[in-house]
Symmetry: C2
Subunit: 357 residues, 2 copies
C-alpha cells in the first residue's frame, strides 16, 4: 500500500541497512558506548543528543539507531527502552572508534615508583597485579615470566641421600625450579661435582628450550657406570623444562567483581569459577598476540563462563622479547580506552623493571 502511493511506483528502499555506515552513525555508536559504559543504563536518542553535540535531532538519531540495530551493533532489551551495545558493537568501537588513552605523566611516575620498590621476582609480579587491579578497578591477571623464553643462569645439584638428589634450576628472570631426582645408583661427590660443572658449562646461558639439544650427548662423556645416573638427572631436568603447566599466574582485584552488574549471583559465579581454574586463565593469556594488545569481547572468548566479560591482555618482557602476558578481565561494558592505556603502561614498566634487575 505505501508502495502504491509513490507516483512512479518505484520501490525505494529506504531501509537504513541498505546504506553503508557513515560517519555520523559511527559517531552515534561511539556515543552510545561511552554513555552506556558510564551510566550502565540503556541509552535513548534524546539523552544522546543532549549529552553529545551531534548536530542532529533525536529523530535522526533514532533512524541511525535503527540502522545500527539492524546491523547488529546495538540492541534493545525491550521495546521502549534505550539501546545497549552488542559484542559486535564493542568490537567496532575498539577497532575503529576508540583510541588507547595514555596514562598521564603523574600516573606513569606513580606506576614506575610503585614497581621499583619490588625486592624480588615474586614481589614484582605481586605489585604488578595489584597495581593493575587498582588502576583499572577490575580483575587483574599476571603470568610469571615464562621459562620458555628465559635462559639458564645456574643449575645446582644437591645430594640429599646417596641416591637422592635435588636439582635446582635458576633462570635469568630469577625464577627457581626444583625437582627431586631418584638415582638408580649412589652418586658420589666427585661425580656430582663433575656433572654440575659440565651442566653449567654446556647449558649456562642457553635458552631453556635449547637445553635438551645442547645436553643430548652429555651421558656419552661419562664413565659407563655413571651413565644411568646422569641420564636420570637429565630426564628430570628436561621434564622440568618442558612442564609448561607449571606456569604460574597471580590474580588480584576479585573484589571488583562486585561492581559487575545488577543480576548478581548469576553473572559473578561462573567468573569466580573461571578465575580459580589456572588452566583457563593460562589459555586466556596464551591466546594473546605476543606484542600487540589483544582485546577479546564477550562471546569471542572461548570459555563459556566468561562470555559476559572482556579480556584485555598484552605481552610484557625484559628487553624487546615478550616473556609472559598480563591483562585484566572485566565486564564487556568496560572503559576500553582507559583499560587499554593502563594495561599497556603497566606492561611497559614491568618490562623495564625486569630488564634492569
Amino acid at each position: 500500500m505505501p508502495d502504491e502511493s509513490k507516483p512512479d511506483g518505484r520501490l525505494i528502499d529506504t531501509r537504513p541497512s541498505a546504506r553503508p555506515l557513515d560517519e555520523r552513525r559511527l559517531a552515534v555508536l561511539r556515543a552510545i558506548v561511552q554513555d552506556y559504559v558510564g551510566t550502565e543504563e540503556p541509552v535513548g536518542s534524546k539523552a544522546l543528543v543532549e549529552r553529545h553535540n551531534l548536530g542532529v535531532s533525536p529523530a535522526t538519531v533514532r533512524n541511525d539507531m535503527a540502522a545500527l540495530e539492524e546491523e547488529g551493533y546495538i540492541h534493545q532489551p525491550h521495546t521502549s527502552a534505550g539501546r545497549i551495545p552488542t559484542d559486535k558493537g564493542y568490537r567496532l568501537f575498539v577497532d575503529r572508534l576508540a583510541e588507547v588513552k595514555p596514562m598521564t605523566a603523574p600516573e606513569r611516575r606513580a606506576i614506575r615508583h610503585f614497581l621499583e620498590g619490588a625486592v624480588d621476582l615474586d614481589d614484582v609480579v605481586a605489585r604488578t597485579v595489584r597495581l593493575l587491579a587498582q588502576l583499572t578497578r577490575q580483575v587483574a591477571v599476571v603470568q610469571y615470566p615464562s621459562l620458555t623464553r628465559s635462559t639458564v643462569r645456574h643449575i645446582e645439584l644437591v645430594s640429599l641421600t646417596p641416591t637422592k638428589l635435588m636439582l635446582v634450576l635458576i633462570t635469568n628472570t630469577g625464577r627457581v625450579e626444583q625437582r627431586m631426582v631418584d638415582c638408580p645408583a649412589p652418586v658420589g661427590e666427585a661425580l656430582l661435582g663433575d656433572l654440575r660443572a659440565r651442566l653449567n658449562g654446556m647449558a649456562g646461558g642457553c635458552r631453556l628450550p635449547e637445553v635438551p639439544t645442547v645436553l643430548e650427548d652429555l651421558p656419552a662423556g661419562f664413565d659407563p657406570a655413571d651413565r644411568p645416573a646422569v641420564s636420570t638427572v637429565l630426564t628430570v631436568l628436561f621434564e622440568a623444562l618442558a612442564e609448561q603447566n607449571e606456569e604460574r599466574i597471580m590474580l588480584a582485584g576479585t573484589a571488583n567483581l562486585t561492581r559487575f552488574g545488577h543480576d548478581f549471583p548469576l553473572t559473578i559465579r561462573p567468573v569466580l569459577e573461571a578465575l580459580e581454574e589456572q588452566v583457563v586463565l593460562l589459555r586466556l593469556l596464551g591466546e594473546t598476540a605476543d606484542s600487540a594488545m589483544t582485546v577479546r569481547i564477550g562471546h569471542e572468548i572461548a570459555y563459556e563462563g566468561l562470555n559476559s566479560t572482556s579480556v584485555v591482555s598484552v605481552g610484557y618482557g625484559s628487553g624487546d622479547q615478550s616473556v609472559a602476558k598480563l591483562g585484566v578481565i572485566g565486564p564487556t561494558r568496560m572503559d576500553y580506552p582507559g583499560t587499554m592505556g593502563a594495561v599497556r603502561a603497566v606492561a611497559r614498566y614491568v618490562g623495564q623493571i625486569l630488564a634492569e634487575s
Copy 2:
C-alpha cells in the same frame, strides 16, 4: 495485679530469663540453629515443633524462645517473624550442643586417595585447598608448611658472579627459599665450598629458629679476610629464616561465596577484599590454637570485613607437631558439625601425607 491474685501474696518471678537455661531450651536452640542453617529462613515455633519432636506445644516453645531471645542467643528480624540465631547463639551451639560430625569411611578413603596423588609440596597444598573447598562448599585456606617448625635439609651456595651469590635453603618439608647475596669482596670457589660444607655440617637437621644460635660463631673459624663475606651470607640467611611474612597461603572455593545470602554485593564485597589480603588471612590462621580446632564466629573475628562470617581452622603437621594451619571461611550460618568434621579429617590426612614424603 497478677501478684495480688496469689493467695500468699508472694511475688513469683515467672520471667523466663530468671531461670537458667534448662535442657529443653538448649534443645530448642539446637533445633533453631539446625533449621536455620538448612532453610536460611527465620524459624518459627510451629515449624520447629513439627520438624523436631520436642514433646511440647508451640506455645511452650514460644516461651522458651522469648527466654533465649532475652539472653541474646537468638533474635527476631522483625515482629511476627521467626527467630535467627545470634553469634552468641552459634557460640553456645558449637561449644555445648554440637558434636563434630566424622567423615564416613568412603569419604575418608576418597580424601586420602586424592591427596596421595600429589607430586610435590605445591601440589599437596593445592590439592588440599581444593578438596577442603569442595567438601565444605565454602572458601578454603591452607597455609604452606611454615619455616619455623621445619628443619634444615640443605643449604646451597651458588656463585653467579664473583661477588654475587645465590643462597638456597631447602627444608625437610620440601620448601625452597632463595636469596641473592651481594658480597663485599669476591668469593672464590674454595671458600665457597668450605663455607657450604660448614654451613651444612653445623646447621643440617637443625630447627630453623635454632640456626642463628648454632651458626653464631661461624665467622670466627674463617680467615679474617674472608669474614666479611661469611658474615654477609649469614645475615641474609638469618633474614630469610626470620621473614615470617614470606609465609604463603593458598585459597580455593571463592565461587562458593555466591551461596552466601540474599543481600549480595554488600556481604560479599568485604569478604573478597579480606581474602585478597594475605596479611589478614595469615593473622586469621595465626590465631588458631596449635592443635585444637578453633571456631571463630561473626564478631569474634577481629577483622571487620569478616564479621558476617565464621572461620573454622586447625593446625596440621607431619608427625605430632603442627607446622601450619588450614581452615575454611563461610557464613556464620554454616553447618558447623559437618565443616568441623571435614576440616579435622583433611588436616589429619595432610599431616600423614607430609610425614610420609
